[in-house]
Symmetry: C2
Subunit: 317 residues, 2 copies
């Protein structure tokens, strides 16, 4: 019998941005007061967020992300909405929403979206992974201040990992849990295995082509979502679908799931609302895209799952 487990290299999901988070989250094992304990411990590492953006301190040269709580005193830390992310070798790591204005930060401080942090290699991969978790939790927390069932004001529990609409304050008792939105992203390959399908959204920079993608719908398998989205956007029919990798994508709280899709047709009938171009690329053309040469057509950068899908397809021999 062949083994279920083959291949020796790192799994594709370990080679994408935001995959480096190694915190002990202990999300089911959190006593009351765990966040307050963390906030009063001097060694606790605080990550400040303004909306979905991380506060970065560049005053000492190397950009600093996690700081002690006092470093945020002047930036209106929103303690009731802080989230205990987990522990790194026993040291608590906390995401702290700040009510400061991105436009008026003191000299040497800036707020960056997680994507920019990764692309600019400003922080170690493990820290970028913690930032992904923090950004997703902050986004969810700020959009869960009120109960969707009854409109009551919610309160933080389990260090911010749950919120409750408290019956003691006239609420309905509903518990709210963090939200992660699955998005399928796929590279359709033609039946000869020599060409792949890429499109460009009107929002992309000039000359930029990438994989098609879309949110999973309620009541749908991921494979059906790949077939539906590919057909809706490009008119291409998809047969088999093969899983490749997954990636946290904290803008605001998404999980990307990457697939190869077997194209059963070649004639593109593009949805002009979603795409402004959609084309087949040969393997050689895909290699050129990945080289990201100034002035030529290009594709998604290293660390994105779209890049991983394209790069791993090109590398198959």
């Amino acid at each position: 019998m062949t083994s279920l487990f083959t291949g020796t290299g790192a799994e594709p999901s370990a080679r994408v941005a935001f995959a480096g988070n190694r915190l002990q989250r202990l999300s089911e094992k959190r006593p009351a007061g765990c966040l307050e304990d963390a906030l009063s411990a001097p060694e606790t590492r605080i990550f400040g967020f303004i909306g979905g953006k991380l506060l970065l301190d560049t005053r000492q040269g190397e950009p600093q992300a996690g700081r002690s709580l006092s470093a945020f005193d002047a930036l209106s830390p929103d303690r009731p909405n802080a989230i205990l992310l987990g522990y790194d070798k026993g040291v608590a790591q906390v995401a702290m929403p700040l009510k400061a204005d991105v436009e008026t930060l003191p000299e040497g401080l800036e707020a960056l979206a997680p994507r920019g942090l990764y692309l600019k290699h400003l922080l170690p991969d493990e820290t970028v992974g913690i930032v992904a978790q923090g950004a997703a939790m902050v986004n969810w927390t700020l959009s869960s201040q009120f109960c969707g069932v009854c409109g009551g004001r919610t309160v933080s529990e389990a260090g911010g990992y749950r919120r409750r609409c408290p019956e003691t304050e006239g609420g309905c008792g509903t518990t709210l849990f963090p939200r992660t939105d699955p998005v399928v992203i796929m590279l359709a390959i033609d039946e000869t295995g020599d060409r792949c399908l890429l499109g460009r959204s009107p929002h992309f920079p000039p000359g930029f082509y990438s994989c098609l993608a879309g949110f999973l719908e309620p009541g749908e398998t991921m494979e059906d979502a790949v077939r539906r989205e590919t057909h809706e956007e490009s008119g291409i029919s998809v047969g088999q679908v093969r899983y490749h990798a997954s990636q946290p994508w904290p803008m605001p709280h998404t999980m990307m799931v990457g697939f190869y899709a077997q194209a059963l047709s070649m004639d593109i009938a593009m949805d002009g609302d979603e795409l402004e171009d959609c084309r087949w690329f040969t393997r050689q053309e895909a290699v050129r895209l990945l080289e990201r040469i100034e002035g030529e057509l290009t594709t998604a950068p290293d660390g994105t799952i779209a890049n991983r899908l394209l790069r791993d397809w090109v590398a198959r021999s």
Copy 2:
């Protein structure tokens, strides 16, 4: 070069419960008034839901799910929260929340959770798939009546596929989208490939063992979630992780994602809060579980992704 796409049988995700939904959802292409148009068309098929349960009419012999709107007149249809699910050969399919009480339904009517519908084979697979979509959308709709950002009352848009907190009524303008919660479910296999790891929750019926599972956390790859959950619940370390299948699971709006996990250790250190037993089963023992013999140990029924993972592992030769 070997093809990316191999195997000739139906994909595992096509062989699980709730995978049979073939509606044209057109969720991005819905004009204002599409729900009202659907509700006024006599051929439109209405699925009534009480909470997450489908209303089933058994008065004419064969259980009936989709009915015309007038069939629900006496059951307090909640029209502002109705959802246009999509179209089957041009005929609109609508999920209609009912404010009726499950306990006092008229003779011949009953409300069933989607899981029961599937297990009892009461409806065709395609209809069960529509019910999964409907149940997930109804659950999300009823828990999104108020805006989480500002507490304002939300209104339905795009036939119930979005909700908005309207600025014209003092709201903050936030748009709410349907929610799908990813859960990883995994069968850990020992290094010889001869034994698999199953556990039992205190909530399971006597003698019932199934795959370990847990919600994906924000900022986590699915593979890391498989390793984390397996280790948390059983103490077993996992190396490689291999995707198998996905399944809509509308209780309330989950997506199950099934994996095989390569166990790197054999000594179980069970989390007694989550599990009341956790054991290695040989292939022969797993076959017996799948036979579901009265009075013996047993496992998850056909249609569940846990059953699929176990059955497909046993069938490998």
